[in-house]
Amino acid sequence: MTKILLVGDSHLGAVKRAHDANPERYPSFSFAYLGKGGLAKTRFFDVDEAKGSVRIISQGWRKLDFCRSDQDLPNLVVLSLPVNTSRILREMSWKTHVPWRLRQHDNEVALSDGFVDRLIDTDSGYAIEYAAALTEIGLSVASLEAPRFFEDAPYLKRCRLDVIRYIDTLYRQRVLDRLSDLGIGVITQAPQTISEIGSTKMEFDNERPGDMHHANLNYGQIALQQIQDFASQHLGMRTSALK
């Protein structure tokens, strides 16, 4: 049977819940939650080229190892990690610092394109390298885009929407380009879940009122189907063959 392994951060939660609601429909799917996405900014994995293995080394993350010689390697690894803008939007001071083109106010510090690119590369670099390392040991890898920000994200109360949108769009494009260069496909966020302002529609906001950046079960169902469709196309099989 075809095996599809979903690996990554907490944005897998909505997909996992959707899967659990209807496991019979997606028998090929299994999940490996690594840990909080925040650790993706650090060197969280190790590569042994001689053995052809890639293993997670970060404290607090699940110890997930892949080795070229493993008999039961998945046919497709779907990685929810590299295309996730929540860290950069949440942890940077986009109120005090803005890309130079967007500067409007005296109290805003203008940042060069080169520096903004560097911030993005620093944030996404290890996750992209992890995806690349998995492909180098022979795995088929796709990246699952994390949902865009929600309108009630706390940083939107202090930062300008156009700045947040700019960073969000630039980040996604830059990371998508790098993944594309590495031959890694991306399962992008479903258009029907994106609002006119570029956020994730509030109808897909997490069920818990205090959670302002994860999506809900409905979103997870859409993403799950997208993964299924991607796998069908990518693995050259009909959907039924995946079951």
């Binding site: 909505a14 909080k36 925040g38 950069i88 986009w94 005090t96 510090v109 203008a110 205090g210 950046h213």
Partner: protein
């Protein structure tokens, strides 16, 4: 019979102050003539050696004021590569007193910075800050916007600081004959193209440096009520190269001697201006070149530490450690971001708990 020397401290005499001591026991080289404490906002500009002051001040809990900081959350590596946190604004090195005056005029709106640029392949460099970005800028417009940002930040540093630390580095300078302005680096070295008709060398003399420095200090002070006190230093780092025609060692000594003399004169001439002897600590004979790296040019971390230890030893006890209001605001914003991060972490855990039935923290 009494004479002036009979009443002098031991520190005025070579034998007890220097000759009979281990070099590391030579003390009382400097005493702060005005109040320097953790409540004072201190800005640092100048030659390369000035950046050691910012680090040491920050490490010891002083309020080093960064008017153009990297955004919260940027890694220290990224910030360093883009020259954030090196000086109090991203001016790059201000090697000469006349460059300080030039930046001051721009910041105070007396002159506009010339809209010149250097092309380096498909990238654009700022002739006034040629190494400020690791690979330059994408467009002239972006470079000019970045320079204006640094000029605004330099102005903010001037307008808000209590103490302005300036490290004099060079007498040798390069000027544009058409525009009448000064470059921090000779065109054609890091970027640009050298044009012998347009780019002229000027080895600044004592009077020119003195006038430039006094003018810059007065302008900075007069820009607002209660302008800052000044702490002048001379970089102990010898020249990398000289265009003076002299041997580089001779040129270095001449250059530093002139700068040292100007700093001494200006600190005596102007109120609330002092000279701190970092140059002497590294370069004078009793220290036997100990604080240089093997290339006899770079100052070792031990040397920097010794200089800064001497600096802090010259300060009276710091009574208060509270932060100025603007820094409290910055801290508040840091805290807000951290709180939100924690809130999201919590949300992550809850999300996982719901989906996977466990957390891994």
């Amino acid at each position: 019979m009494s004479h002036p020397y009979t009443s002098l401290d031991q520190r005025a005499f070579w034998a007890p102050a220097v000759g009979q001591r281990n070099m590391l026991d030579i003390d009382e080289l400097w005493t702060a003539p005005f109040d320097i404490n953790q409540n004072k906002k201190i800005v640092t500009f100048g030659s390369c050696f000035a950046q050691h002051f910012s680090r040491a001040l920050t490490d010891r809990g002083f309020t080093w004021f960064d008017a153009e900081p990297a955004p919260i959350g940027a890694t220290s590596e990224a910030a360093k590569d883009f020259n954030y946190g090196v000086f109090s604004a991203r001016t790059g090195n201000i090697y000469t007193a006349s460059l300080l005056l030039q930046w001051t005029r721009w910041a105070l709106g007396e002159e506009d910075a010339p809209e010149i640029y250097w092309e380096n392949g498909d990238r654009v460099l700022d002739p006034f800050r040629p190494a400020i970005e690791p690979t330059g800028f994408a467009t002239v417009e972006e470079m000019l916007a970045s320079r204006q940002q640094s000029i605004r930040a330099f102005r903010r540093a001037i307008m808000e600081c209590n103490i302005f630390v300036f490290t004099l580095g060079l007498t040798e300078s390069w000027w544009d004959t058409e525009g009448g302005f000064e470059y921090p680096m000779c065109p054609g070295t890091i970027g640009g193209t050298f044009d012998p008709e347009k780019h002229v060398f000027r080895n600044q003399d004592y009077n020119f440096i003195n006038e430039s420095l006094v003018s810059a200090i007065r302008k900075i002070r007069n820009a607002r009520k209660n302008g800052p006190s000044f702490l002048l230093t001379v970089s102990p780092v010898p020249l990398t190269a000289t265009n003076s025609g002299n041997h580089v060692l001779v040129a270095s000594m001449e250059s530093k001697s002139i700068l040292r003399a100007v700093a001494g004169d200006v600190s005596r001439k102007l109120a609330r201006t002092t000279y701190f002897p970092s140059y002497e600590i590294i370069n004078s004979a009793p220290f036997r070149g100990t604080f240089f790296e093997p290339n006899m040019r770079s100052v070792s971390p031990h040397g920097v530490e010794h200089v800064m230890r001497t600096f802090f030893a010259g300060l009276p006890d710091q009574a208060s450690t509270s932060s100025p209001l603007s820094d409290v605001k910055t801290h508040a914003q840091d805290t807000k971001i951290l709180m939100e991060r924690r809130q999201d972490d919590l949300a992550c855990e809850e999300e996982l708990l719901a989906a996977f039935g466990e957390t891994r923290d």
